[in-house]
Symmetry: C2
Subunit: 334 residues, 2 copies
């Protein structure tokens, strides 16, 4: 199995990316990688990698699509970027998967225009796992690839998410929920009201509407919503958790008794941080494109990036794109 | 000043509602109230209220619009409910304001169909304050009255929120932000992309897009969004805070050292709970209707309900509906 890695993407690139790739190579003896980036920066990082060096192919990719430029223009013009080279290699079956911690927009645009959609899939979707501290967490689909959605897109998101959670996360019959402002079937905006009856007929385990207050309460394994709402949810979760931890810190430092108490409770707080840490999960699969694509979190450290590669391996092993292609045929759309 | 109180609305009615009303009467010597509900339940609760009894008028309202029925049907048919009687009294200027902790849908429908919109206002909006632990919190408008919105609605929400925060919360020049998935002006779904240029020309202090991770970080005094997104934000905040506190509790109980630490830090945790407690704020004003209407939280205790009445007093004192009516005239819509 061969995975293409964008060595230059992410806040801690290329060091964390290369280290994470080496960790993955050491964990998976069948894995080989194409490591693409600015080779003058990448090569020196491989000096202690003699044990896996024969499973690394280096590709020079001097261009980088940054967060500050139009992703669509980027993948159109920057042909020497890792994103474009990797997506084309994936399309030509020279590699089996693609992992990047770089610009989300570039990965989406590259997946859409360089790699291509699975026939029948209206819109590929980005699907991170939201931790809940209870089990493996819930897959949030879509989290920002499609800000304006139609009911059929959401119907398909449910299918793709269900296949991913079943085949890559070992959940026998994933519960698919529709994020909504009430549990009753007649609640919500026009989009979700039209989506609900379609999902009722879908060949996956639809469990109805999920209210926002239940999102982190293991109400479903797959949480479906449009990309605008999904992105709100994803970023607001970060915001609320951060604010709450900030308030806790402030209040704890406000009196000596609490301060001592907090020092004693430090191991517990470390575990809390770990439980809510979504970098642990690796990254978000881009589902609906013709290949295994994982977008690792921009702030990935080496271990998080190794987890993202492991996720890509699972997608390849389970042939998620093939299963989605077969599944979409059986979907009754509006 | 005379305020109509729905004695039967909310999880703790009528006891908490009556007690809260008595607290408000004792705090505000100029206040008189109309207390409407099932009088066989309400009257016994007034036995220790001799000091303010002359400022309470009792009105028999035997019908209740529950959360389980269609609010629109409810306000149409249940003419002996507190919501309908109160909204009609407000419309006839027999009272100056209306406060209820009952069905949100009934308050919205009653405000819309029994009281009526301010001329020029497209859609009234419900606007709770989100606590942030930093200052008075940010007004979230709309939080669920309008699940499908047009750019002009959002433009008007900004105006109404800005007037409320200026005239009732003493913020000289409230910062109005548009909730979005990125800070750049070209980010977002079709709705927010069309709203942005309208807000740039609006006669209030528009500070641009606010990303969800900044919502609880005092990024703006007024946070504008459609009611679907606003309801997600409001309920997800509850959910995340609850989940996080749950995880913290679980981890703290997992080892003895942390357990002792948590006992010591108890005063700090009490202050945290207080800082994040939005029942403290009172309730959410329904802005855009022809009168001062406050929806208190369904779980209001007596003090929270007294705060909701205080909020209604401020809206009346500042003549928020009148200011909105004058302000909407100057708005350049799409």
């Amino acid at each position: 199995m061969r995975i293409f890695v964008d060595a230059m993407g992410g806040d801690n690139a290329p060091k964390a990316i290369v280290d994470g790739t080496l960790e993955a190579l050491r964990n998976h003896s069948q894995l080989s990688v194409v490591l693409a980036g600015d080779l003058s920066q990448v090569e020196p990082l491989l000096k202690d990698a003699a044990d896996v060096r024969d499973r690394i192919e280096l590709v020079d990719a001097p261009e980088v699509i940054t967060n500050d430029e139009s992703p669509v223009m980027g993948v159109r013009t920057k042909k020497k970027s890792a994103t474009v080279i990797g997506m084309l290699q994936l399309r030509e079956h020279q590699v089996d998967g693609f992992v990047s911690a770089g610009s989300t927009g570039a990965v989406l645009a590259g997946g859409m225009f360089r790699l291509g959609r699975i026939p029948g899939i209206e819109r590929p979707a980005l699907a991170p796992v939201l931790p809940n501290g209870i089990n493996q967490g819930s897959l949030l689909i879509d989290c920002g690839a499609n800000v304006d959605c139609k009911p059929d897109y959401l119907l398909q998101f449910g299918l793709m998410g269900s296949i991913y959670m079943r085949d890559c996360m070992n959940i026998a019959e994933p519960r698919v929920g529709l994020i909504n402002i009430g549990v009753e079937s007649d609640k919500g905006n026009a989009l979700v009201k039209e989506t609900y009856p379609l999902m009722e007929k879908a060949p996956y385990h639809f469990v109805g509407n999920v209210e926002a207050r239940e999102i982190t309460n293991n109400a479903a394994d797959v949480l479906v919503c449009d990309g605008f709402s999904g992105n709100l949810v994803l970023k607001f979760m970060e915001g609320v958790a951060g604010s709450l931890m900030g308030i806790i810190k402030k209040e704890i430092m406000a009196d000596t008794r609490s301060k001592i108490g907090a020092l004693l409770a430090k191991p517990a707080f470390r575990r809390v941080k770990h439980a809510m840490d979504y970098t642990e999960v690796g990254g978000a699969p881009l589902l609906g494109v013709q290949g295994a694509v994982v977008k690792a979190h921009g702030s990935s450290n080496a271990h998080a990036f190794a987890c993202a590669i492991r996720q890509c391996i699972r997608i390849i092993d389970a042939d998620v794109p093939g299963t989605i292609a077969r599944g979409v045929d059986g979907l009754v759309q509006s």
